[in-house]
Symmetry: D2
Subunit: 341 residues, 4 copies
Amino acid sequence: MLNFVNDYSEGACPEVLRALVESNMEQLPGYGKDRYTRSAAERIARACGKPDAQVFFISGGTQTNQIVISTLLKQYQGVVAASTGHVNMHEAGAIEAVDHKVLTIPEVDGKLPAPALREFLETFWADANHEQMVFPGMVYISWPTEYGTLYSKAELTELHDICQQYEIPLYIDGARLGYGLVAPGTDVTLEDIANLADVFYIGGTKVGALCGEAVVFPKADAPEYFGTLIKRRGGLLAKGRLLGVQFDALFTDGLYTRISHQAIDTAEIIRKALREKDYEFFIDSPTNQTFVVIENSRMEVLRQQVNFDFWERKDADHTVIRFATSWATRTADAQALAELL
Amino acid sequence: MLNFVNDYSEGACPEVLRALVESNMEQLPGYGKDRYTRSAAERIARACGKPDAQVFFISGGTQTNQIVISTLLKQYQGVVAASTGHVNMHEAGAIEAVDHKVLTIPEVDGKLPAPALREFLETFWADANHEQMVFPGMVYISWPTEYGTLYSKAELTELHDICQQYEIPLYIDGARLGYGLVAPGTDVTLEDIANLADVFYIGGTKVGALCGEAVVFPKADAPEYFGTLIKRRGGLLAKGRLLGVQFDALFTDGLYTRISHQAIDTAEIIRKALREKDYEFFIDSPTNQTFVVIENSRMEVLRQQVNFDFWERKDADHTVIRFATSWATRTADAQALAELL
Amino acid sequence: MLNFVNDYSEGACPEVLRALVESNMEQLPGYGKDRYTRSAAERIARACGKPDAQVFFISGGTQTNQIVISTLLKQYQGVVAASTGHVNMHEAGAIEAVDHKVLTIPEVDGKLPAPALREFLETFWADANHEQMVFPGMVYISWPTEYGTLYSKAELTELHDICQQYEIPLYIDGARLGYGLVAPGTDVTLEDIANLADVFYIGGTKVGALCGEAVVFPKADAPEYFGTLIKRRGGLLAKGRLLGVQFDALFTDGLYTRISHQAIDTAEIIRKALREKDYEFFIDSPTNQTFVVIENSRMEVLRQQVNFDFWERKDADHTVIRFATSWATRTADAQALAELL
Amino acid sequence: MLNFVNDYSEGACPEVLRALVESNMEQLPGYGKDRYTRSAAERIARACGKPDAQVFFISGGTQTNQIVISTLLKQYQGVVAASTGHVNMHEAGAIEAVDHKVLTIPEVDGKLPAPALREFLETFWADANHEQMVFPGMVYISWPTEYGTLYSKAELTELHDICQQYEIPLYIDGARLGYGLVAPGTDVTLEDIANLADVFYIGGTKVGALCGEAVVFPKADAPEYFGTLIKRRGGLLAKGRLLGVQFDALFTDGLYTRISHQAIDTAEIIRKALREKDYEFFIDSPTNQTFVVIENSRMEVLRQQVNFDFWERKDADHTVIRFATSWATRTADAQALAELL
């Protein structure tokens, strides 16, 4: 059975696993005060071109979004996101559970369009009743998006400029950041992300780690006592080393982006086959997720040999499905899928 | 200056005020355990045709929505509402502040369309990922709606049936309930509301009272220790009599619906004039709110003599404005406005 | 039956009621933007000797505490209170419901002792693990306390100084403020309160109003968009006039303190009788609440003719009961009780 | 430098690490739907003597307490705990952050005394004002306690019986459960815990795992959609296997209790030395934590060679310190410490 169902089917990439094994019996302070965590934070800060950046590690993406959003927003504010934003759709209400509304704007290609954002903000402030409404207090995007698409540097800059104008932070969810950074055609670097976002996270869970996300405050303006705030939300691991050791490995010798290439290379093998066989793409994604329209009976046949993700019904006879690759996808598996398509 | 800006510009209707004055020096137990509150609850239950109904009094509408919704929903659920629903737009995030998401469905004539609701629920339960999403746990509508429109008995019944099928409560926000009950052409009675809603509230603030809303559980299935839950949200008045006395008066000898007629009669005077003068209605409302499209220069002239509510920009040259009437609107004022139009 | 069970048994004092009646049909803006609310705020600011103070009106005490505390605390902070503090004991968890811990210190005479507060703060900051604890972020006291006792000006000053030193606000709950201001022997004025507290509220519900408390920020440093924050907690009345008109009356010609005298005068009649008849006082209160130890069989006899409040069991044969007076207590009733004792 | 500062200084025990390494490249479903997680749950259920028990895995202890307590309590309830309870003191307000009060009872030997609990519950229900108070809705204890002490089977049974009588669940925090189960003199087995608790968790972080706690509902009455509730609090790992694989190893061939012995054996070496050298024990603990009173100058000398935990000041000249051992403590290190004492 070939497996393209998601990008978190395996454990850690070998170098990360080795780092865990090698450091295992070392006695280290708890709660992220160990040397690996410190080193990981420094390596990440340097990789971002922001040596003074503050970096924190949290075990999963939903928790990261929950903590970052709830600690940066003021009580009367909500977070603006595309209607398809992960925080809006697939986190079981985690943002509302910490008291904030997700203010949605219709997505285009999985992205939050800058003109729509600008209009939303203008309309809000022009509304005579806005003091009885939820104030837009932050903009959330993911890069890559839920649909695997990427904002260009120009698009990110435009969102950044709007946020600056309205004095609200731009937050980038980078659950799959590595796959965006090495995607063909992207003009965005990690340094760009660090320049354009007020806060962002570098995803580990989907890019080589067993668990863990690295939250970066490039301007070193994290909320006071951010560690306590993480603890209060149940997100502080006693053995903080588990996250520190993994990210220290991921940001040694460019491992993070190096392993990301495999996801893109295998995705390209699949997309090449799809194009050659005249499949209709649901959306044009350059990263590790490929969304394609498939005829239902064809899908049933494929299902015998391949695990993929059901995305949505297209019409009576067609379905949108997703093939996800990752750092762990074998080239041979991608080629095997290409032949089966 | 003529005033049609909203339906809460005056104090209490004379009979309600008199009841407050007459009972003022009576010594009564606190926290709603007084005889007026008990009597008001009984009168309301009888008026609903549900003598065993449980009735609670809360000082304002936002607080009522916040308490009812947060005590009826399970933690993993959200409340389904029309995109224009008051809980979604104009309560400053009060629902999210108590940890729940508002799941929105595009409105039609200010209403939540039953077919769209049905599709929303079907889609949710069919989604393989629904355990990571917010479950629809309650349906919220207002009657009349934010736009002054009314669901017919057939429409309410359809919503009720869908809720029954999915085993979730139907909650009706009746901030302006009185004005709906006496609107021309409505086929819905208070008894119908009590039969079709699992919980609803009868608005006092906008219909004759100084403050206060009456929450009705027609099936007497209020959450356990509902009074404690109100207290915990800061909604329990020490002098609960303030609400009890007012609602006791409002539900004596049909005062509540009797005073509601004046709002409709005066709104009809205005609408008749608008029709005669070929104004374009923004929406066709039979209750105390009238939404009309007005040419901007005409609006500026009118503004010299009339307070009305800005609703939204229609286009470069036109604006949607609202005239609101209430139990307190004088017939002469409505006639004066009719002439000015 | 004589009634001394609490201080919220009647409606409004006559002058307040008259103001409501006289302004009733005036058309006024909603949500506290009316001229009465503005006037009330100005009168209160002047009475506090702080003409620039910001004043807000909220319908009840629990809601006021909930809103003030949750908007002033940072997320990682809790509020320090005496173990007997109202916020700790009798608000159904309203502070925790808005996410904050009440950090308790054992009371002495119903008060929070300054030395214990100082030690608590010192210990917290000296604790190596304090980043995993709830930070003390505010000090809450009530004046008068739950037991009717009063902090002297020196005691308040000491608490104020400690708060200044630790850079946390001192919040005074003045649910019964009027009764403290006119109590025999107090050396504290409203101006002192305004000088020593960072935020406090002037209780209306128990001192002449139907409902309502006035929150005062003497330094005009209320949280941004405080009105929106009140709305979000369900505390903003559409007819904000209801609170504005009442407080405007209460702070015209010294009505607030004038009516407070009656509560003290009648309490003194009762206390004089208790002293003469050698009752044991449970606590020595100079305000409108009198706590006395009574032999159980004696209590049962008294209960036939008097409503009082059960406070707690003292021992097998004795009970602590409370007699509460208010602005509405008749001198004749106090004398009648004095004879029955 | 000898290290006895806490019980989470190392990574995972070798067998657990090996299981992670061996399963690393296996492709498994996410979110805890993998076969290791299923197997771990089954092994734990069997070890508890409750084959039908429901078992869930969460990454850390604070998050586990936060989720269990907030999903079992009703809104108007709080959790009863000893004043020294972890949830009360050292979780940065995580329980209040999810809206619930911790109702404290003074500890005795780090334990919640059954008679005090009984009196607390009786007093609450006898209080005429209890509807304005926080209802006791659950009892939280830890086993071992914060002080390393253990409730006997008789003590647990008494707490269980009180909870049964008041129809509230008994929740046992087993962050260090393994060390209690193998402590000398304990008469409590894992089966006893499963019989006497309504819900409990088996700590992994401090007993052999990199991270992770196993929540057990022995009566299989977990809240509906518990997985969604975990997700909503940010506690659901995409790679749920990380927890499943570890607990599957820990509950294979009795590994969990087997490794726990080392912590006790080494702690006994230390305690024997302390007794021989006439140290004063701060509290008599039979588990992996040893609290001892030490003369300050002696402490300073010791500090040169040993990491231990400062607990509290005893008096001007003495301090209470803690030595913690774990599954990873080397016998030689314990002996070295014994000689240094």
